[in-house]
Symmetry: C2
DNA sequence: CGAAGTTCTAGTCGACAAGACGAGAACCGT
DNA sequence: ACGGTTCTCGTCTTGTCGACTAGAACTTCG
């Protein structure tokens, strides 16, 4: 179909001096735990296209910065947070027409923040809000561009990362109770974990959590105050909890 | 319902008329198993920069195609394979200066092919070769651009995918023996797996492998001919084998 | 043809991890 | 004080995974 002449494997039908030009943007999916549910940070677009619709924060990459630097800069500009616990690239999106104005390829990043309560202001005229991920995934809230797909992929990525990396501690603060940490797993995976077994798998081996000696305030319903821990070093190499996918994969007898 | 007003618009440089222009390319890391070792398909560059060096096949994305389509097209043009068993995007690379000529952001894809024996030809077969991944990773072979990092990331991705997806069957043909499949795991993970236990975890549950009734030719050393299987449906949801990550001992060469 | 060698297949056994569960400890409200 | 709630500890059971052994099937070599 095309001229497949090539010089030692490199196609020559594309002259570097007349390459097709694209805009390259970086979009950041900011996830956080709030009130036991997974939330995503969205901004309301102030201009066309998709004016008035919700979108994930992002912006153009600059020629002098790396992709990671661009993501970090955008995160600062949009949320005021200058160092996320976790900032990982997880996908690129370049369908023709995904931006009606021009050819845009976007690199998507996932950022995990601990619960901040209210949204910190950025440099944006429009509103920003923490929206429950479930409201986005089930279509109750429409997103601009192909951002729904990007959020879907981000959540799926979190589910996997939760099992193989120490991403769970990124949702928590400097110190946390085991119940808080367990809530992260339960919310992201959508499962119920036994509190006693959860504690055992973390405390049994050294390096996951370090007791601070202090105790948290009990909740409104009372109860024994939980121990406060901080994250150990083992999280860098992997996660302590495996997803009990046996719940969905019930073995049928035959 | 935390909403907060902001003072400036979506970043000032978000102006469609004066966005920074980039070239967008798609590079494909083609991995295959050959002689019990993991191999990567490389092409020899015929022009500057990096003339004469090995590189990953790839090329410019066209404005009218998606990223996935671009990857598939490049794979066809470079290797002649029109449908890889697996073609997955795994990363984007956009460091300034990674291409000395201009600003290039590349989207990296991973393709897994079953062993093709000899070098598969594009239009210029002499310029392409299957190189053992180990030779690339340990620096015996220099790669152009930042392609060494891309290959590193691809191999790491395969290691993870092997555990959570059915990527293992992509290395094998339509029918395969369990020894062949086991060799994939052993080569990618660098471990030794017990043949008996490996078989048990596959045939114990239904859906992993389906017996064809036929038997493979024994190897040069003789031995009982192995049963020939084909892949079942369970591979779509996950992998049957977990990586024994506690094992540090490398597989001894043979 | 028989013997030796190689590989595949089947089964058992024990160690260990993971889930279920009960009981007690600490703190709340009334 | 007292029931309700949450956290913490221990035990029991279950299932999985690796190590191991033995036998089956086919090769080549003498």
């Amino acid at each position: 179909m095309t001229t497949k002449r090539r010089n030692a494997g490199i196609p020559v039908d594309y002259d570097p001096s007349q390459f097709p030009a694209f805009a390259v943007t970086v979009d950041v999916v900011v996830l956080t735990m709030s009130e036991g549910m997974l939330h995503v940070l969205l901004v309301c677009r102030g201009e066309a296209p998709f004016e008035g619709m919700w979108a994930i924060p992002g912006g153009f990459k600059r020629p002098t910065e790396t992709l990671d630097e661009a993501a970090k800069r955008e995160l600062v500009e949009e949320t005021g947070v200058d160092a996320a616990s976790l900032l990982t690239q997880f996908g690129a999106y370049g369908d023709p027409g995904r931006d009606p104005r021009m050819n845009v390829v976007t690199i998507a990043y996932l950022a995990v923040l601990r619960d901040v309560g209210a949204v910190v202001g950025g440099s944006d005229a429009a509103a920003a809000a923490l929206i429950p991920v479930s409201d986005v995934l089930n279509g109750k809230i429409d997103l601009a561009f192909d951002h729904l797909q990007i959020v879907r992929d981000a959540v799926e990525r979190v589910r996997v990362e939760l099992e193989v990396t120490g991403i769970a501690t990124a949702f928590a603060g400097a110190t946390f109770t085991l119940a808080e940490l367990r809530a992260v797993y339960e919310a992201v995976w959508g499962v119920q974990l036994d509190a006693a077994n959860f504690r055992r798998s973390l405390v049994a081996e050294d390096g996951w959590v370090i007791a601070t000696g202090r105790r948290a305030q009990p909740g409104a319903a009372g109860g024994k105050p939980a121990e406060l821990f901080r994250a150990g070093r083992a999280w860098k190499t992997g996660g302590p909890i495996r997803c009990p996918h046996s719940i969905e994969k019930r073995k049928d007898n035959r």
